[in-house]
């Protein structure tokens, strides 16, 4: 398949800029930004051929793009997908909103500004596909704004759909798709040249009109906004403004009212704003009279605003049992993310510390309780529960979120677990579980919606840690936590759920289908990090009603206490089978750089749900720091897991770890590390993901998308690129040497296929290198 995939993080820092310029050049674009800093991120998937149709789906941080003058190319189309893009040309500046597009002549001067991390599609067509016929095309004098109406809408929607499925289409499917889009594009171009000739609407008028509409969008909340005010702001006469609107087919007053109503409609169903009273929504959109607003809204949308919102909520509830992990993509497209959105629980700024942190020693003890854990999400806004310095050791307790699978074994008599899992009709000690809305307005599962499930202890503030540094977390020891129930004194248990997010769920052989099963294991540690597990009993998941009265037909929310009266215990199961232990932490994370709560399930550059059993006693993980203090969290302890974690979980078992935390300042040993790197006494283990930096790639708003787009093929590609970079950067090998070595001496394995962002790891045995790598300094050959 003629697909080119690009992620800047695959490249050593000093070659990233060039690699990105190469990719842009394929599409006839040039970046005018200076050398990227380390935070810079870019990704692209480009499909097609230079002498035909090329379509790219790109993500890039703030920069400006301009044309690379080339002959033989038709004007290219640029379509922002999530954030607006501003275009400046001789004829003026205008803003292209997501879902619209701009046609940009390759032979004229213009700049397209990305103001922040932006997803956009680029479509480019070679003149050769016209076969010499030019359909009476006249050359485009300046950038043209394609609005989402009529033919333009059909074209835009096709483009958008194709861009989102670039790597999912077979060659044959792609051929049909590129044909359709090329045809639509030509039709748009032709109608454009003839319309401009007929109606006398010139490009500068179009640009001015676009600017007027932008001004209206910005000021829609002003109740006394008028044509006069807008005209004055833009320096034209009111009459000319009215004329422009008439040319566009409607009066200014009508247009403004329509925009106010559309804003109100969006606000009514925005997940973050569901609790805002309707009258306030009306005011925020420039309506002064609630009754008038109600009437206009009903005329326009068929329902009064209150009923409209209720209807919307009802339809969401109906979707509630749709099996979807994480944020549903659909709900997110409408969602407005606010700066520093509330996470629930205690919130402080980035660096402010709560109370008096424990700083007077080098060994710290961090117990797990309802004040020291956060459940199902990471956030840079979380208040640290402990402050430490580089070189300190910590004894940290972690609790498995699966304790509620058998409260009798895991919770009863264990003060910490009783505190964290406490939940009755009136009170729930840890309310937020997941990165979803606190009012459960998407599915109604519970606060946080279970978009993220892991009980994490932390965050821990590391003195002096800054973005660009690397935090090393070494696991000196870990031991399973004994049952607190006197009836099971001194015994250890774990739980493994074959859940709806497991690899098997859609293709079970035996009835009833589908189903979820919980296997409770007893753990027999040998006191030296080893030992084995045996199945204790199993049961099939039955609908469980949580103490707040919400029914959970599937395992869709963490920590719902399973009522023993509703299940049927199956025993013996897996008789004659004992599983060697591989104790490890599934989750070790520093806070992501993005704002807002981030789902704990998909692993990414900041670590998180790595689920690699090699991250146990004696191993270290290196994590790139994104926020001041790093904000380290640990959780999801596992007694054992296989490569793949196919059923969706490991043997989940509460554990206590002894960790050493070492801060490596920027510029040192791992200056361009952009992913979690594991080191064991014998091996380097590199972690590849389907989408290595999915938060940047899809946007925080698109968190849920990673669940739909995971693939081992992508994860393998990422693991390959990271390994190449590691061997070249850290061991100073040439590219060819790195590739030979990977073929002959590096083992690639499947980490997991159940965490949204699937993983492939590469294992490099250290013994390959004759020269021992010293603890602090890696050898770099000139």
């Amino acid at each position: 398949m003629n697909i080119r995939q690009f992620v800047s993080e695959s490249y050593p820092l000093d070659t990233r800029g060039n690699a990105w310029r190469d990719i842009l050049a394929t599409l006839g674009l040039r970046s005018d930004s200076p050398e990227q800093d380390f935070d810079h991120f870019a990704a692209a998937v480009i499909r097609g051929q230079a002498d035909g149709v090329l379509l790219g789906s790109l993500t890039a941080t703030a920069q400006s793009l301009s044309p690379l003058a080339r002959r033989g190319r038709m004007p290219l189309v640029m379509m922002p997908l999530d954030e607006a893009v501003e275009v400046a040309a001789e004829a003026g500046r205008f803003v292209i909103e997501p879902g619209e597009a701009v046609i940009l002549p390759a032979d004229k001067t213009w700049d397209a500004f990305l103001r922040q991390n932006t997803n956009f599609a680029v479509f480019s067509l070679s003149e050769t596909v016209l076969h010499g016929q030019r359909f009476g095309l006249s050359p485009l004098a300046s950038p043209f704004h394609v609005a989402a109406t009529g033919l333009g809408k059909v074209f835009l929607q096709s483009l958008r759909a194709a861009a989102s499925e670039l790597d999912g289409l077979s060659d044959l499917e792609w051929q049909s798709v590129e044909q359709v889009i090329a045809d639509l594009y030509l039709t748009v171009i032709v109608s454009l040249s003839s319309a401009a000739a007929d109606a006398g609407v010139n490009a500068s008028q179009a640009a001015l009109f676009s600017r007027l509409t932008m001004a209206i969008e910005r000021r829609v909340a002003e109740p006394d906004l008028s044509a006069g005010r807008i005209a004055r702001q833009e320096g034209i006469s009111e009459r000319y403004l009215q004329k422009l609107f008439e040319q566009n087919g409607e009066s200014f007053t009508h247009y403004l009212r329509e925009r106010r109503l559309q804003h109100a409609r969006m606000a009514l169903v925005a997940p973050d704003e569901l609790r805002i009273p309707i009258s306030e929504v009306a005011y925020s959109c420039g309506f002064t009279d609630a009754a008038n607003f109600n009437r206009l809204f009903k005329e326009r949308f068929g329902l009064p605003p209150g009923a409209f919102r209720t209807n919307h909520l009802k339809s969401l509830m109906e979707m509630a049992n749709a099996e979807q992990r994480g944020w549903p993509v659909k709900a997110l497209t409408d969602r407005k993310v606010k700066k520093r959105s509330a996470v629930g629980g205690v919130q402080v700024g980035d660096t402010e510390l709560a109370g008096t942190p424990d700083t007077d020693g080098t060994h710290h003890v961090l117990p797990a309780n309802s004040k020291t854990v956060h459940w199902g999400y990471f956030s840079r806004s979380l208040r640290p529960v402990l402050e430490i310095s580089s070189g300190d050791t910590i004894e940290v307790e972690t609790l498995t979120q699966h304790s509620s699978d058998d409260p009798e074994l895991f919770i009863k008599g264990d003060t910490a677990a009783e505190d964290v899992f406490f939940w009755n009709a009136e009170k729930k000690n840890v309310d937020r579980r997941g990165a979803g809305p606190i009012d459960a307005s998407v599915y109604g599962r519970g606060a946080g919606e279970g978009f993220g499930v892991h009980v994490c202890t932390g965050p821990i503030y590391v003195n002096g840690a800054e973005p660009g540094d690397v935090l090393e977390v070494r696991i000196d020891d870990m031991v399973p936590r004994p049952s607190g129930n006197p009836d099971y004194k001194g015994r250890h248990f774990g739980s493994s759920v074959a859940a709806w997010w497991g690899y098997q769920y859609g293709e079970l052989l035996q009835e009833p289908k589908p189903r979820e099963n919980v296997f409770i294991y007893e753990i027999f540690p040998d006191g030296d990090g080893g030992g084995f597990a045996r199945a204790h009993y199993a049961y099939r998941w039955t609908p469980q009603e949580d103490p707040f009265g919400v029914a959970h037909k599937t395992y869709d929310y963490p920590g719902v206490p399973v009522d023993p009266a509703t299940i049927e215990k199956l025993s013996p199961v897996l008789s004659g089978i004992q599983i060697p232990l591989r104790p490890h932490f599934g989750v070790i994370a520093v806070a992501p750089r993005e704002d807002g709560p981030v789902d704990s399930v998909p692993p990414a550059y900041f670590g998180g749900n790595i689920d690699n059993w090699r991250l146990g006693k004696g191993a270290s993980v290196y994590l790139p720091v994104s926020v001041p203090g790093a904000l380290l969290s640990i959780g999801d302890p596992h007694a054992s897991q296989g490569d793949g974690e196919v059923a969706g979980t490991a043997i989940e078992c509460s554990m206590t770890g002894r960790l050493t935390v070492i801060l490596h300042k920027k510029g040192g040993r791992f200056s361009d590390l952009t992913y979690p790197l594991i080191e064991t006494p014998e091996e380097w283990v590199l972690t590849g993901f389907s989408h290595p930096n999915y938060l940047a790639e899809f946007g925080v708003k698109g968190q849920g998308e990673v669940y739909a787009k995971s693939s081992l093929d992508l994860a393998m590609k990422d693991a390959f690129r990271k390994t190449r970079r590691f061997l070249m950067g850290t061991y100073g090998l040439g590219e060819d040497e790195a590739i030979m070595l990977m073929s002959a001496g590096v083992d690639f394995g499947v980490t997991q296929v159940v965490d949204g962002n699937w993983g492939v790891h590469a294992i490099i045995p250290k013994s390959i290198f004759l020269t021992e790598v010293e603890d602090q300094d890696l050898i770099v050959r000139a």
């Binding site: 077979s170 189903r515 199993a538 054992s640 196919v646 590739i739 002959a744 499947v750 290198f769």
Partner: protein, 413 residues
């Protein structure tokens, strides 16, 4: 038990294809042992080290304007005009065999035990007693369209030496960029597109001192081993399938027992494509390709005797060694049956790890349910907590993921 020897000669090898119509080179009974020589199809990457002075290799690789000992190389057309040469290189591995197993019938399972494997020394007096192999980063490698440095794309051949003193390791000697090579029939090979073309060392530039200080632990194994498929007469050796073939798992080594479903009478076992070492994924397209000699024991399991053994219900290759059982998932489980008459070409477009993972998951689930008597729910829980899935290869068209379960898990077998 009888012990046989099957040397690699111009008569006992076939190049680039499996075929149910090939004449057996040896007939054995169940329980017999055979010492089989194999010669790597990459020997001509460095003729002086891997062919010169070795009479068998010299004859097999002989190719002048007048004479070409082994014309067909691959399952492609045998009549010109050729794009690459006879057989078109549609299949590249030089295999020794086939070995016919008396009484083997479709539905039976052939067990092949690898008793030993050792390297074939250079016969050139200049390198006497030393062992050499070759690792091309080739056009079918995972890196080919994803290079960072110029020139892009490129093929690079690295010649390695194997040191058998314990623990055995492999080190790089030198490498060179592939340059267009003209074969004795006048066809130019701009890339590595046809096996056995002698590289003219006057056309290449050797780069010394590469991978200095790097010693790769040896993993002597046979990349291609299997029985003849029933679906077609000529089958490329590149994509692995239900009868084995180019599995490229380094665990297929001394101490391993491979089980293959027999597809044609006599089973027709062939072996070759030996490797000095390889990582899981075989990323660059090849392993360290070397000539090895193996000692094999053949055990035929009749269809009626399979129930109650690890072979019950087996319709794909299975590996057993002292520690694990492994099953092999492919992008297309049985591409010969599933992809229609153009399967040799269709498979090239069907490579996918996602499909291979799916296949490995299903095969391991079946194995645990049929052979170990687990319920589906038990099998799935056990796989999640104790089975390891790894990437076998991403370069043999039909990509592979293996699923392994440790035998120690079953305390009461």
């Amino acid at each position: 038990m009888t012990h046989h020897t099957l040397p690699a000669t111009a008569d006992t090898v076939h190049w680039g294809y499996f075929s149910k119509s090939l004449k057996p080179q040896l007939t054995v009974k169940s329980g017999d042992r055979v010492t089989i020589e194999t010669i790597t199809h990459h020997a001509n990457d460095d003729h002086a080290r891997m062919i010169a002075g070795d009479a068998a290799a010299e004859e097999i690789f002989l190719w002048t304007a007048e004479e070409k000992t082994i014309k067909r190389r691959g399952a492609g057309p045998q009549e010109g005009p050729y794009e690459h040469g006879s057989g078109e290189g549609l299949g590249v591995h030089l295999l020794t065999g086939p070995v016919e197993v008396e009484g083997a019938e479709p539905g039976d399972v052939l067990e092949v035990r690898i008793i030993d494997a050792y390297p074939r020394p250079s016969a050139n007096p200049e390198y006497k007693g030393r062992y050499f192999g070759s690792n091309p980063s080739a056009n079918w490698g995972f890196q080919y369209n994803d290079y960072l440095e110029e020139p892009k794309p490129r093929e690079v051949v690295t010649i390695y030496e194997l040191d058998m003193s314990a623990p055995a390791t492999v080190s790089a000697l030198y490498s060179y960029l592939w340059t267009p090579q003209t074969d004795p029939d006048g066809i130019v090979h701009p890339t590595i597109d046809y096996p056995g073309v002698r590289v003219d060392h006057d056309t290449i530039t050797k780069k010394e001192g590469i991978l200095s200080g790097v010693k790769i632990p040896a993993r002597l194994h046979f990349g291609t081993m299997g029985v003849a498929p029933a679906e077609a007469d000529l089958v490329s050796t590149i994509p692995p399938s239900y009868t084995g073939g180019n599995m490229d798992d380094w665990r297929i080594t001394k101490g391993a027992r491979m089980f293959y479903p027999v597809a044609v009478p006599g089973a027709l076992f062939s072996v070759g494509d030996a490797h000095a070492s390889q990582g899981d994924s075989e990323l660059s397209g090849t392993a360290i390709e070397i000539s090895l000699t193996g000692e094999f024991e053949f055990v035929l399991h009749k269809k009626a005797d399979l129930p109650g053994t690890v072979m019950e219900g087996l319709d794909h290759p299975l590996l057993e060694n002292d520690e694990i059982w492994s099953v092999y998932g492919f992008s297309v489980t049985n591409y010969l049956a599933e992809l229609g008459p153009d399967h040799q070409y269709e498979i090239l477009k069907s490579s996918s790890l996602d499909n291979a993972m799916r296949d490995a998951f299903r095969k391991l689930r079946r194995f645990l349910m049929t052979v170990h008597g687990l319920s589906e729910d038990e099998a799935i829980s056990l796989m999640s907590v104790a089975a390891d899935f790894g990437i076998t290869q991403v370069v043999d068209a039909n990509w592979g993921v293996h699923g392994s379960i440790r035998k120690s898990v079953f305390t009461c077998p």
